[in-house]
Symmetry: C3
Subunit: 304 residues, 3 copies
């Protein structure tokens, strides 16, 4: 736990809490103590996310491999947080590319089964993990590039929005957006803040109210993604963008990033418990539970 505590201290300014909720699952990586040499750390595999670190470039790749749709379950999110923490804490790693190992989907967003028919305690635990994921990703000191190689609704879109740069495969079937309103739920204020910071107030207002899922082309047009590429060029392009960002001195780039994002990060940190309470109260309403059950039924029928 020493590494976690050290990290918790290191990034305390952004209010990210140490991940003490559950013990780390990957075992034996040496904790990084000030002054002690680091144990070599090349790659570590988990259940749902494959992390590879290229030590020559200092760039890690996180591949979401939780079929069928990389949905953000509590387990997935916990793994994502721990992986981010590990990389953030590894001096060899300066940037991370987030992409999917599942065809046609980047991530389908928050796992509805975590929000349906569970206890209040479970909802609270789940929501705290979702917050944690965003605080770590949006506030990361590393360069973060989303290589969006599939559809990316709701929480999947949030992951992309939280990176420094978004490259999307130009495939007319791939969609992206914060479509919460379509499900009868409301994107939390910090999803909204992240969205507004990316596409501006008006586009966000319209897109959030309509729960729009945009084609890659449309998303590119108003800046929800920064660049479109053919699928076969995605990794190459992501590496090139990463190299461009890594050419800057880390310290100046990190302080600049923090200056741009701090107000929005601080806002969630200041209202974190209240936001959990709001989520729990909202999601446990019978009317919302009913909507979610209907939505899940619909998804099941679609599948079969």
């Amino acid at each position: 736990m020493a590494a976690l505590r050290a990290l918790g201290f290191r990034i305390a300014r952004s209010g990210v809490q140490p991940l003490c909720r559950r013990p780390p699952a990957w075992g034996t990586a040496a904790p990084r103590l000030p002054g002690l040499p680091l144990a070599p750390c090349r790659a570590f595999s988990n259940n749902k996310i494959l992390v590879e670190l290229d030590e020559s470039s200092g760039v890690a790749t996180m591949k979401f491999k939780s079929p069928p749709v990389n949905s953000l379950s509590l387990d997935f999110i916990t793994e994502l947080c721990i992986s981010l923490e590990k990389l953030e804490n590894n001096r060899e790693c300066r940037g991370v590319i987030l992409t999917s190992a599942v065809p046609n989907i980047f991530s389908s967003g928050l796992d509805i089964t975590e929000m349906c028919g569970k206890s209040m305690e479970h909802y609270a635990e789940f929501w705290r993990a979702v917050q944690e994921m965003w605080l770590r990703l949006y506030g990361s000191n590393m360069v973060t590039v989303a290589a969006v190689n599939g559809s990316s609704p709701a929480g999947g879109c949030l992951i992309a929005l939280s990176c420094d740069y978004r490259i999307m495969v130009q495939n007319p079937k791939f969609i992206i957006g914060l479509n919460e309103a379509q499900l009868g739920i409301v994107a939390p204020f910090w999803f909204k803040d992240t969205f507004v910071n990316t596409v501006g107030h008006r586009v966000a207002e319209r897109s959030l109210q309509l729960g729009s899922l945009h084609s890659a082309s449309e998303a590119h047009k108003f800046g929800l993604v920064d660049e479109l590429v053919p699928e076969e060029k995605l990794q190459e392009k992501a590496a090139a963008v990463m190299a461009q960002w890594l050419a800057l001195p880390d310290h100046a780039r990190q302080l600049t990033k923090s200056m741009m994002r701090k107000a929005v990060l601080d806002r969630l940190v200041a209202h974190r418990e209240e936001d959990i309470q709001n989520f729990v109260n909202f999601i446990s309403k019978e009317s919302i539970q009913k909507s979610l059950r209907m939505y899940m039924e619909m998804l099941k029928k679609k599948k079969s």
Copy 2:
């Protein structure tokens, strides 16, 4: 008055004040009490605004018919507020389309005769009504679509800006913008906030300082209007857009809208009396009165 008080309570969160200033003019519509059946409410006509509700779609149309230019007099504004309140309070109504029954003009904006040569009390009453109109429209729970079928300067532009979506007729003669500076007056901060939320800070800064009136094409280019259509397609397009917005669950859409607009609405609510005082002090200055008299003379000469 029970209906008004009930409404005042219902929307108290957005700080809109009950309309007790003057008794409603349209007479006998049954107040809606919790648990009591609603009296049927199809359409109600006033002097200056024609309101039609299509009960099958839940969409009302408000047609401004105050020739020659639909100027926003105290009477017009009061009628607009009461009409909005009535619709807001009517469960059958989920959306409203605002348009003009006067050719070539949507609305010419605030009626200058209300701001010129009147008492301080009158200025204060007038300004409170203007605030009320904006609070009700920008904060409406209904879907609001502006079908801008004519020019729309100053306060007319504010009405359009306060809706959820703006469709404008593509006619090179029709102009839209917040041109207050041209008249030697200053758009209040909440006009500015609404404008910034729509077109961004830079476009707003330039357009407000120059008091620009933009052609429909130009307005569309930087997002002051969302869509341009030929005049004969306007109503059809407005209905289609409305249907698209009404396809969303009301509750989620309303909460999302409130999340996007609350900060700006709250700002006026918090500074309402101060804003009235500022307006009264400013408008009653002899130099401003002189500007307005000259402007009115100019308008009269133009007409004759």
Copy 3:
């Protein structure tokens, strides 16, 4: 000093401090006392900036003539502040065009020699002058047009950003941007605020983190400059834009400008001493001093 004190009082609302730090260098211009006739003020020349006032139009031109690159030394900045103060205080002057008399460069930004190998006191004095320059320019009551006839990195870009309108010569060699991150330093929050107000949050975030220097075309595309012209049309265009802005009544335009910029100006005024302290602490770090020395070495080698 009476004129300075009078001015200090007049613009106290925006928190600009009177320029008492050093006595004005240009000598005998009559102080403007309320009720007394103004001494005629046509033009005044300094060492580094040439100021010409066309009394018929009320438009002054400030030409930066500090070869080789119009770098913003303490002397240059002090002259700029005093020139602005003089014009601001001159009723005959309503607008100012800022341009360069040095070929191919508008301004290269803050003079690195002022930030390298000097005393803490010097750093503090320098930074206070930089703040002062921005407060006076961004908060100016005059119409300010930047006629950018050369490259304009860092502090040079800030000067352009602080004007009401930016016209840039369409020359593929001319670049503009806030490239501080490239030098390992961080643009202060009020550079960032000015940038965000101009190009929006997302463009600013990306451009600041990458320390991007944009071609004129690119800068125009995302609104960092408002217009591109061939070099030979620049002065004509600047005059035409100025005439357009001066067609508005001063009072309304000034109040509108203040409404748009006040929040950001106030933020620096409220944190001015803290910002100086931050700068001094940051710049006097050995690691930063080392970066700056290396950068200066590189510049010297380039030259020879």
